[in-house]
C-alpha cells in the first residue's frame, strides 16, 4: 500500500473524531499498563535480568493469565481482520476453515505440550530450539529450528501491523498524498509497543491481553447480536452471501467464492485446518506462551477452556458475510478495494461512533499483544540458539536478557520497515510461506518428545526437503487475477489433481525423508548426538527438582554443559 503508486485524485477519508478519541484513550491506558507490568509479580532480588524473567514472565503464569496470554497470542489482529476478509472475498474454504482449525488445535495441544513443558522446565529450556539441541545434540538442527522460527515470525509480526493499519485507515488517519503522514500513527504506536516490551518483557503482553480480550469479547458479542437484528436475521445474511459468492467472476470464469465446499474442495478444507493446527504450536510465540506457565497441567487445563475463543472466531468470520449483506465498501486510500478493511469499516458504518471506537481499539490492541509476544519469542531464539550457542557459549543470564531485549527491538523495527517499505500483499505471501516453513520443524520438535528413534541428520535432511518443496510449490501457485507468484497456499499433490494445503504435502515429504534416512544412517551406525534429557524429565511437574538441583545433589556428571 505504498503511497507512491497512488492516484492523487482520491479524496482522503474523513476523520471520525469520537471514535478516534476513544481509540487514543484506550491506547494510552494500555501503554501505561504495559510499563506498569514491569513491577507485576517481580522477584525484587533478581529483577528482570534473565531470560526466565524477561522472556518467560518468571515461568509463573497460572490458568487465568495463561488463558488470556495464549488467547491474545493465537487470536491475532490477523485472525480478526483477515479471516472475515477472506469470508467476505472468497467464502468458506479460505476463511471458515479457521473454525475446524481452532477446534482440532486443542486436542493436539493437550497431547503434546505438557511433555514439552516438563522437559523445558527441568532443563531451563526457553525456546523450542533449546529442546531440540538438548535432545539431539546437533548444532545444525538447532540452528535450523531457530532460524525457521525467526524467519517465519517476522512476516507474522508484519501482519499485525497490517491489522493496526487497517484500523487507522478506516478511522481516517493517513493520507494518500504523504507517505510519512500515512505511516506516522503506526510508527508512534509501534515505538510505544517497543518501549514497554523492552522494559517489561512478557509480563506486558500478559497484562494487556486481559484488557484486549475483554474489549474484543464485548465488541464481538454486541456485533453478533446487534447486527443480525438490524439486518433482519442470519437467514438474509447467508442468502446474500450465497448469491455474491456464487456469482461468476469475469476474470476467471469461475464463481467468486465457495459458500459450502463441494466434493472438489473437501481435501483443501480439511488439510488447511489440520496443517494450520499442527503448525500453530510450532511457532516460537506459542511455545513461549506454553513455557511461561506455572505447572505441567496449566496448559492442559487451558486446552479445555481456550476453545471459547474459537466460538468468537467463528462469529467474527461470519461478520464477513454480514458485511456482504450490508454492502460494506472497503475502499483503501488509493481507491482500490482492500478486503482487510471490511470488519473495521463494518463496525464504523453500523455502530454508534463511541462503540465503533471501542471495537476498533480492540482490534488494534489485539494486534499489539501478539506482536509483543512474537518479538520476544524471536528475540529469545536469537539469544539462546544463535548468540549463546554459536557466538558466546559462556553468556551469563544478565547478558542473555540484555541481548534478547535488543534483539526484540531489532525484530520489531524490521517488521515495521517491512510493512512501510513493501507492498502489503508481500507481507501476506510471506506469512503464507512462514506457515509452510514452520510446520517443517514439527518432526524435530514433536517426535523428539516421544522417541529418540529419528537420527539427527535425517531430521535435518527432512526439514530441508520440506522447506525446499514447500517454497517451490508455493511459488508455483499463480493468482488467477493478478498473475503474481505466491498466489495461494493450495496446490495439487504432485502426480494427482487432489488440491491440498502445500504445508501438509511438504510435511509428509519431510517425514518420509526423515524416516527413510534414519533407517539408512542407523544401518551405517552414523553416530548420534548426545541426549542430555532422561525419560523422567518428560513427566516432571513444578515441584520436581530441576536438573541444576539434581546436579548439585549428585555432582557426577558434567555440570550443565552444552551437549555438543
Amino acid at each position: 500500500m505504498s503511497g507512491l503508486t497512488v492516484p492523487l485524485a482520491v479524496p482522503d477519508r474523513p476523520i471520525n473524531g469520537v471514535a478516534l478519541t476513544i481509540v487514543i484513550i484506550l491506547f494510552v491506558l494500555v501503554a501505561a499498563l504495559g510499563f506498569f507490568a514491569a513491577r507485576w509479580r517481580r522477584e525484587e532480588a533478581t529483577g528482570l535480568h534473565s531470560l526466565d524473567e524477561w522472556g518467560l514472565g518468571g515461568r509463573g503464569f497460572g490458568t487465568w493469565v495463561t488463558w488470556f496470554l495464549l488467547g491474545g497470542d493465537l487470536y491475532t489482529a490477523y485472525t480478526f481482520v483477515a479471516v472475515p476478509a477472506a469470508m467476505w472475498a472468497t467464502g468458506a474454504v479460505s476463511g471458515f476453515f479457521a473454525v475446524p482449525y481452532t477446534i482440532v488445535l486443542y486436542p493436539i495441544v493437550f497431547l503434546l505440550m505438557s511433555r514439552l513443558w516438563s522437559v523445558s522446565h527441568r532443563h531451563g529450556f526457553v525456546t523450542p530450539a533449546d529442546f531440540v539441541g538438548g535432545r539431539y545434540g546437533s548444532k545444525a538442527l538447532t540452528v535450523a529450528v531457530a532460524v525457521t522460527g525467526i524467519v517465519a515470525t517476522m512476516p507474522y509480526i508484519a501482519l499485525q501491523l497490517v491489522g493496526i493499519k487497517a484500523v487507522l485507515t478506516v478511522l481516517g488517519l493517513g493520507s494518500a498524498e504523504n507517505v510519512l503522514l500515512t505511516d506516522l500513527p503506526l510508527i508512534i504506536a509501534f515505538v510505544v509497543l517497543a518501549a514497554y516490551t523492552y522494559t517489561s518483557g512478557l509480563r506486558a503482553p500478559a497484562l494487556i491481553a486481559v484488557v484486549k480480550d475483554l474489549l474484543i469479547y464485548l465488541a464481538v458479542i454486541v456485533a453478533v447480536i446487534y447486527l443480525p437484528i438490524k439486518f433482519g436475521g442470519w437467514g438474509t445474511i447467508f442468502d446474500s452471501a450465497e448469491a455474491k459468492l456464487g456469482a461468476v467472476n469475469p476474470a476467471t470464469g469461475k464463481p467468486a467464492g465457495v459458500f459450502i465446499p463441494g466434493a472438489g474442495s473437501y481435501s483443501a478444507y480439511w488439510t488447511l485446518a489440520l496443517g494450520s493446527a499442527l503448525a500453530l504450536f510450532m511457532y516460537p510465540h506459542s511455545i513461549t506462551g506454553v513455557l511461561a506457565t506455572k505447572s505441567r497441567n496449566t496448559i492442559r487445563k487451558n486446552a479445555a477452556v481456550l476453545p471459547l475463543y474459537s466460538l468468537m472466531l467463528g462469529f467474527l468470520a461470519l461478520l464477513g458475510y454480514a458485511a456482504i449483506y450490508a454492502g460494506t465498501k472497503p475502499i483503501d486510500l488509493n481507491g482500490a478495494i482492500n478486503p482487510q478493511l471490511v470488519v473495521p469499516q463494518l463496525f464504523l458504518d453500523h455502530f454508534p461512533d463511541w462503540f465503533a471506537g471501542i471495537a476498533l481499539a480492540a482490534i488494534a490492541i489485539g494486534a499489539l499483544v501478539p506482536a509483543a509476544i512474537m518479538s520476544i519469542a524471536a528475540a529469545n531464539l536469537f539469544t539462546r540458539n544463535i548468540y549463546r550457542d554459536l557466538i558466546r557459549p559462556d553468556a551469563k543470564p544478565r547478558q542473555e536478557a540484555k541481548v534478547s531485549k535488543i534483539a526484540s527491538l531489532v525484530v520489531k523495527f524490521g517488521a515495521l520497515i517491512f510493512v512501510i517499505a513493501m507492498d502489503q500483499s508481500a507481507a501476506i505471501n510471506m506469512q503464507l510461506l512462514g506457515g509452510i516453513w514452520i510446520l517443517q520443524t514439527f518432526p524435530a520438535i514433536v517426535a523428539g518428545l516421544y522417541t529418540r528413534w529419528f537420527h539427527r541428520w535425517a531430521l535435518f535432511c527432512g526439514w530441508a526437503a520440506g522447506i525446499i518443496y514447500g517454497t517451490i510449490a508455493a511459488y508455483n501457485v499463480v493468482n488467477p487475477v493478478t498473475k503474481a507468484n505466491f498466489g495461494g497456499s493450495i496446490a495439487a499433490i504432485p502426480g494427482t489433481d487432489v488440491q491440498v494445503y502445500i504445508a501438509v504435502v511438504a510435511f509428509v515429504i519431510n517425514l518420509i525423508v526423515a524416516a527413510g534416512l534414519s533407517l539408512v544412517l542407523r544401518a551405517f551406525k552414523v553416530p548420534d548426538g548426545k541426549d542430555i534429557t532422561r525419560s523422567s524429565d518428560y513427566g516432571a511437574d513444578e515441584n520436581d527438582p530441576k536438573v541444576a538441583e539434581i546436579q548439585r545433589e549428585y555432582p557426577l556428571g558434567e555440570p550443565g554443559g552444552p551437549a555438543f
Partner: protein, 93 residues
C-alpha cells in the same frame, strides 16, 4: 547418563490414557471429516448446517478435552503419589 534417573512418576495404567486418546482422536477426526457436514439443510435460525455444525463442535471439543483432562490428571496424581510413597524425600521440595 551419569546423573541418576530418579523417576518422577510411577508406572502408568493404560486405561485412562486409552480412553483419553479415544476422546481426543474423536475431537480431531470428526470436525475434519468434511463430507459429513458439507450441506446447506437443515438450517438453524437461518444458518446453514455447514456453519452451525462446525460451531457446535467447539463446545463439544471443549467437553471432550475437559473429560480427558480429568482422567489424565487423576492418573497423573496417582502415579506421582506412587513414587512419593517409595522415595519420600522428593515431595519435600
Amino acid at each position: 547418563m551419569s546423573i541418576p534417573d530418579a523417576p518422577t512418576r510411577g508406572p502408568a495404567r493404560p486405561g485412562p490414557y486409552v480412553i483419553a486418546g479415544i476422546l481426543l482422536a474423536t475431537a480431531i477426526v470428526v470436525p475434519l471429516f468434511v463430507p459429513a457436514y458439507s450441506i446447506d439443510e437443515p438450517r438453524l435460525a437461518g444458518m446453514p448446517f455447514f456453519y452451525w455444525y462446525q460451531m457446535m463442535w467447539i463446545p463439544v471439543t471443549a467437553g471432550l478435552v475437559g473429560c480427558s483432562y480429568w482422567l489424565i490428571t487423576k492418573e497423573d496424581r496417582r502415579r506421582r503419589e506412587a513414587v512419593r510413597g517409595t522415595t519420600g524425600a522428593e515431595d519435600e521440595r
